[in-house]
Amino acid sequence: MNPLTGYLLVAALLFAIGLAGALTRRNAILVLIGIELMLNAANLNLIAFWRYGPHPQALTGQPDPLTGMMFAIFSIAVAAAEAAVGLGLVIQIHRHAHTTDLDAMNRMKG
């Protein structure tokens, strides 16, 4: 088995676990935890392809050898920003509705 296949399967598994967590838990924060796991799985995918992908020096007219790693670094930064804003929203919702249970928030009227 290709080493790249192993990493891609692990990334797919982490993505599925994160998705299951985001879809099945009641607490809003655990949904955000699931989203973070999904973003991390995507980063693992990027880095795995960066490592095992074709070397750009061998081909002409190809992007530079850093594209995968740069993408992953920017993705980490954006995920951190999104986690901060998402958790701020969860805190404010808790202040308003006194609960973080997503099943209890089924009305649009505040």
Binding site: M1, L4, T5, G6, L8, L9, V10, A12, L13, F15, A16, I17, L19, A20, G21, L23, T24, R25, R26, N27, I29, L30, L32, I33, E36, L37, N40, N43, L44, I47, F49, W50, R51, Y52, G53, P54, H55, L66, M69, M70, A72, I73, F74, A77, V78, A80, A81, E82, A83, A84, V85, L87, G88, L89, I91, H94, R95, T100, L102, D103
Partner: protein, 166 residues
């Protein structure tokens, strides 16, 4: 496939499973930290040193602590009245299983066509710095703007409103 890869992969998957299955929310957050650490080790195994250390610094050093603070501020560590899973949890599980099956099938079917270079691209931190200031300067500035907006936005969203403190 070396033994190191299997150990690190098992650690990450175990951490992720614990993060979505445990009942106590703070335990979930700590298991998420273990999953992040496992992922950072996988980045290091893939010779992406800068990405691995950035993962530890940002995710474990900041995002995990943020999640834990949010759990404490929303009283998430108290035991819930009902179960911790939502009413129609089976839908979520089936969806996730279907997506994993599809992704796994796609990866395994395309295994012969996947690239497999044996040598890692040699990237030093100086190359990353030059790239960030050269070719990727526009994404860098946009991410800086995004982070500033997120910072101001998070502070405003989570701030105490004075008139609602009655």
């Amino acid at each position: 496939m070396s033994i190191v890869f299997y150990v690190i992969a098992a650690l990450s998957v175990a951490g992720a499973l614990a993060a979505v299955l445990l009942k106590n929310t703070v335990h979930c957050a700590l298991a998420l930290t273990v999953a992040f650490a496992g992922l950072a080790l996988m980045f290091l195994e893939l010779d992406a040193q800068f990405a691995g250390f950035a993962q530890i610094l940002i995710y474990i050093g900041a995002v995990a602590i943020l999640v834990v603070f949010a759990i404490l501020l929303t009283r998430g560590s108290e035991t819930p009245k009902d179960t911790v899973y939502s009413r129609n949890w089976i839908v979520g599980l089936v969806t996730a299983a279907a997506i994993f099956a599809m992704l796994g099938w796609a990866v395994l079917r395309s295994a012969p066509a996947l690239p497999h270079e044996s040598a890692a691209p040699s990237v030093t931190v100086m190359d990353i710095g030059n790239a960030l200031m050269g070719r990727y300067v526009l994404p860098l500035e946009i991410v800086a703007l995004l982070l500033t907006a997120a910072l101001i936005g998070a502070v405003i969203v989570a701030m105490h409103e004075k008139e609602s403190a009655k």
